[in-house]
Amino acid sequence: MRPDPILRIDTAFFWEACERGEFVAQKFNCAQEGEACDTLWHPPRPMCPKCHSTEKEVQQLSGLGTVVSWCVAVRPQAFGFEEPPIAALIELDEGLRFVSNIEGVAEEDMQPGIRVQVAFADTSGGKKVPVFKPVSE
């Protein structure tokens, strides 16, 4: 079954949000600079590279995005998966890019530009990770 996510000190918030069915990104409270900072970051990091704040905030994302590129590992097959998954690089509507899976699309129908929305998939240890499915019309 799908491997569990790897939780690190600076990234656990993301995977813990998935447990609640929330797809989030990181931003920092830069209020000490006199203005709020709305920049979202992925992958997460311990410090804002603009203002160097370490006051982290979490923002809910729309869960909508567009496929940039995709692939299927044929040989060797992916560790932990019964069927080779479609992995994809997705550009989220908020501008961040995120690697995930595309479900509900046949391999022969995959192409860049497909609009997708987030869902959640179970892992071997009972955790959840975000995966993407075509936007329902």
């Binding site: 799908r2 491997p3 569990d4 996510p5 790897i6 690190r8 990234t11 992925h42 992958p43 590279p49 940039v68 590129s69 995709w70 692939c71 299927v72 590992a73 044929v74 040989r75 060797p76 992916a78 560790f79 932990g80 998966f81 080779p84 998954p85 992995a87 994809a88 690089l89 961040l96 890019r97 995120f98 690697v99 995930s100 899976n101 391999e107 995959m110 192409q111 860049p112 892992t123 990770v129 995966v131």
Partner: protein, 385 residues
């Protein structure tokens, strides 16, 4: 470009055989390669006072010194970013010897990446905290677990946007194997392929990478000795001077799983390195006599050809198909067969080939080589006679 006594030069090259089963430790491969490089140069290993390698290599500095008998190091560095750091070793070696921090630097790489472990297979034990990339944490749970999958995700938008086909990639694989076929040191010596062979080779990662688009998992060691021209004069070989070496490690970029910043259809760091090389050496990569460009996977070469200014965006597939990189073309590409054809010692064997071409001793010697370009994405170096 003035020929000063202070200028850095590669004066020795050494290697083991390239195989799939070396039958000895990575430490031994490292030591054998270093001693071979010292003998080639005519340098006593006791004179080595600096050493450089890069991450994702098990061979260790302490063990290496114990085997080859260096007395004292004044400088040692292990660069981040794995194989992408390959050409950056020359940048560091050049700075180290030209500044006088040390006099004789050895750069080495030694791996049993086929017989001891499988470099191209999913790595479940690697730490997510290292290696210059976030691929373990942010790709592994989604089944993107190997270098080939990260490469496919990274290059997909480029290949789609410019209409690059599997046959276009195959043309490059055929070229690398053609060069390897006449290089006795190459794993694929006497084994050229046709475009049909490429098209019939099994998928590794759909829809972009067939078996013959990938470099090999190789066992082997390679070492290089760098010193200054004042010392090089008294050594055995024609020195290959380091006219320039440049490096660019950009914000929010990472290696191979480089998805998160900027335009993913172009290599911003290669473009930066090109600017710096032209400013420093007065020579553009495309105006050198041969190109040694890191070919872990075929798409990586196309993107680097554009990033390093050989041709415009989207033009690399045609630039290759038009014969520009054949042995008798404008700029021969990896006459040794590259990492795809000769062996995958993470780019080190492309540096040694550049040195042989400058010396005039290569298996597939190109006529009148005065300069050579060595590239590994984030770094590039220009060698000269």
């Amino acid at each position: 470009m003035s020929k000063t006594n202070n200028q850095a030069a590669i004066v020795g090259i050494g290697q083991t055989e390239f195989s799939k089963d070396s039958g000895r430790s990575e430490q031994q491969l490292a030591a054998e390669a270093v001693i071979a490089a010292c003998k080639d140069a005519g340098i006593n290993p006791e004179e080595i006072d600096g050493c450089i390698t890069y991450t994702i290599d098990n061979s260790d500095e302490v063990d290496l010194l114990r085997s080859v008998g260096c007395k004292e190091l004044n400088y040692t560095v292990r660069l981040p970013q794995g194989g992408a750091a390959n050409a950056a070793t020359l940048y560091h070696a050049k700075n180290a010897v030209e500044s006088g921090v040390c006099d004789v630097v050895v750069i080495w790489r030694a791996m049993n990446e086929r017989s001891q472990y499988r470099f191209g297979q999913p790595t479940v034990s690697i730490s997510p905290d290292a290696n210059g990339s976030t691929f373990i944490e942010w790709c592994f749970p989604f089944g993107a677990q190997t270098p080939a999958t990260w490469e496919a995700l990274s290059c997909g938008m480029y290949l789609d946007q410019y209409g690059v086909t599997s046959e276009d990639l195959g043309n490059l694989a055929v070229l690398m194997r053609k060069h390897a076929a006449t290089n006795p040191n190459a794993w694929f010596y006497k084994q050229p392929i046709t475009l049909d062979d490429h098209q019939n080779s099994r998928w590794i990662v759909k829809p972009w990478l067939r078996l013959l688009d990938c470099c090999q998992e190789s066992d082997g060691g390679v070492a290089i000795i760098v010193t200054r021209m004042d010392k090089a004069k008294d050594l055995k070989q024609t020195p290959a001077r380091l006219l320039s070496a440049q490096y660019s490690f950009l914000f929010n970029h990472e290696i191979i799983s480089d998805f998160y910043e900027g335009d993913v259809t172009r290599l911003a760091f290669s473009e930066r390195v090109t600017e710096k090389l032209i400013a420093d050496a007065g020579i553009a990569p495309k105006d050198t006599d041969i190109a040694m460009i890191y070919d872990n996977f075929t798409p990586q070469v196309l993107r680097q050809l554009e990033g390093f200014g050989y041709c415009g965006l989207g033009e690399a597939k045609d630039y290759i198909a038009d014969g520009n990189m054949e042995l008798d073309g404008k700029t021969p590409l990896s006459p040794n067969g590259g990492l795809i054809g000769e062996g995958y010692i993470h780019g080190m064997n492309n540096i040694t080939e550049a040195v042989r071409q400058i010396r005039g001793t290569a298996a597939n010697q190109v006529d009148n080589v005065e300069t050579a370009f060595i590239a590994s994405g984030v770094a590039g170096a220009i060698l000269g006679k």
